[in-house]
């Protein structure tokens, strides 16, 4: 199989199958060989499932022969290891669940399986989607394919690393404070945090009930559209699941972005940003202008207050983990243990005030979005963090630009927009109104048709 097929888009791979240029079994065998060769250094997978992958591939071949037109048929994917998979261990990246084989399966896992995808295995996650694995942990942390001395971002670290390394064509992520968009930014790939309630969280380990989102990660906005389609919609098993109508995300990619109004909040999002990152972001705005979008500076008055986001996250995470933390603290990783325990120190009134401030942020963003269609911001103020910095126990929680959109719940797409002077990918995020995933995907797709950042490959 040619090297290019490791990195082909979902649409291109589906077309190659239907022209009989390559078969799902051939692709799966080639990817398994690539994973076997490269993953011992990258640690993207926590559990590889070759037998399941080959069985899925054989089923896809049979379906293709019968003319099955499902777009995800035969597409290799993987799942972040907080998604429960029936009969396959689901560790949460934690020693606590290191050998747990669930009897249930998450809704999203089932939906992608029913769409005909090939499951390659389970991808390492930061422990419980919150804490980087320190040296000596039961599971090694994934490494960034662009520079293995740097983290791939988190918490969907394995998803980001695997996509960047060409191990598969789509992956699940979850995003409570940026866990889809951060790895997308650091690994030079594309990730969509859909609207809160758009995709089911049933069967996905909880970090924070009111902030958790599930969504797809891929290498392009177009691939994210294909991956989002079968998992968007109401699920009675998730109390936060929305009944809002589901758009045709792939069809919407073809629309024009001429006249689309893009707001750039100039407060908050540029604090501590590296100069070369800002330069790349401003270049991306220039491309969007050249496509006919109207780009204007705006201000979101209360956005600075979104720093109280951590009170909500930590209090809810402690509520979820309290029993195990008090009875089996030794099974939680270094630093993560105390990070979650910080939630026990948040008073009830502080939690309530943080939620009320959140509503103020939502109201201010809603007001701004009466005059613009999309917000564009740098995804992170800096490129991927070196491990030697990330392993500093004094490092509390690095500041990023992503949590405000977990507070508001808006759909947000992170996509590559250049490189730092050190050769690491940098990213911008595009945020739309609630349930307007189609708009941010359309804009991201138009940007990627005009640029080639998303086609650059790491030196693995």
């Amino acid at each position: 199989m040619s090297e290019a097929l490791h990195y082909t888009t979902i649409r291109e791979l589906g077309a190659a199958y239907r022209k009989r240029e390559v078969s799902p079994v051939e692709v799966t065998r080639a990817l398994l060989a690539r994973i076997e060769k490269l993953d011992p250094a990258l640690h993207a997978f926590v559990t590889l499932t070759p037998e399941r992958a080959l069985a899925d591939a054989k089923a896809a071949e049979d379906a293709l022969r019968k003319g099955d037109a499902r777009p995800l048929l035969g597409i290799p994917i993987g799942h972040k290891d907080i998604y429960l998979t029936r009969g396959i261990r689901s560790t949460g990246g934690s020693a606590l669940f290191a050998d747990w084989i669930p009897e249930d399966e998450s809704t999203v896992v089932r939906q992608w399986a029913e769409a005909g995808s090939i499951m390659m295995g389970k991808l390492i996650t930061h422990e419980f989607a919150f804490g980087l694995q320190f040296p000596g942990h039961r599971f090694p942390a994934a490494r960034n394919p662009w520079n293995q001395d740097h983290i791939p971002g988190g918490s969907s670290s394995g998803s980001g690393a695997a996509l960047s390394a060409g191990f598969l064509h789509g992956a699940t992520g979850s995003d409570t404070g940026g866990s889809i968009r951060g790895p997308a930014a650091f690994c030079g790939i594309t990730g969509l945090k859909p609207t809160y309630g758009r995709c089911s969280r049933a069967g996905v380990m909880t970090l924070s009930w009111t902030l958790d989102h599930t969504g797809p990660m891929a290498r392009t906005a177009e691939d994210c559209a294909y991956l989002l389609q079968p998992i968007a919609g109401h699920d009675t098993a998730d109390p936060a699941s929305s009944t809002a109508a589901v758009d045709d995300y792939v069809k919407a990619l073809g629309g024009s972005v001429r006249g689309l109004r893009i707001g750039v909040p100039r407060n908050y999002f540029f604090e501590d940003a590296d100069a070369d990152l800002v330069r790349a972001f401003e270049g991306a705005l220039g491309v969007l202008r050249s496509l006919g979008a109207e780009v204007r500076d705006i201000t979101i008055p209360s956005i600075d207050l979104s720093r109280s986001f951590f009170l909500i996250l930590a209090a809810e995470a402690f509520a979820y983990h309290e029993h195990d933390l008090r009875t089996k603290p030794e099974l939680y990783g270094e630093v993560l243990r105390e990070r979650i325990m910080t939630g026990a120190l948040v008073t009830a009134s502080e939690y309530v005030q943080a939620q009320r401030i959140r509503m103020q942020v939502c109201a201010d963003v809603a007001e701004v979005m009466k005059s613009v269609d999309v917000l564009a911001t740098p995804t992170t103020p800096k490129p991927a963090t070196p491990f030697k910095v990330a392993y500093d126990p004094e490092l509390a929680f690095p500041r990023t630009n992503m949590p405000p959109f977990n507070l508001t719940g808006q759909p947000t797409l992170a996509l590559p927009c250049g490189f730092s002077t050190s050769g690491l990918p940098v990213s911008m995020q595009l945020s739309g109104r609630a349930f307007e995933e189609a708009t941010v995907l359309r804009l991201g797709h138009a940007y990627q048709k005009a640029t080639d950042w998303h086609t650059r490959r790491p030196p693995v």
Partner: protein
């Protein structure tokens, strides 16, 4: 609300019934202190009382008029 002190942090840890290694206290103080700072800058009585969790209906009420 005054800035979170180490004494206040220790008092909260004791009230929560937790045992935290001394070398992790600085990290926890920074995490909690940074997150609490916005609360001291806001008169919460001026914040419109909305439900304590973000929710959406098909019209996206918190994020304005749906764009067609």
């Amino acid at each position: 609300m005054p800035e979170l002190t180490m004494e206040e942090l220790r008092a909260r840890i004791a009230a929560a019934g937790l045992k935290i290694p001394e070398h992790r206290l600085a990290m926890m103080k920074k995490l909690l202190g940074d997150a609490l700072a916005p609360l001291s800058r806001v008169d919460s009585r001026t914040v419109r009382p909305l439900e304590p969790a973000v929710t959406f209906d098909a019209k996206g009420p918190h994020l304005g008029v749906r764009h067609e």
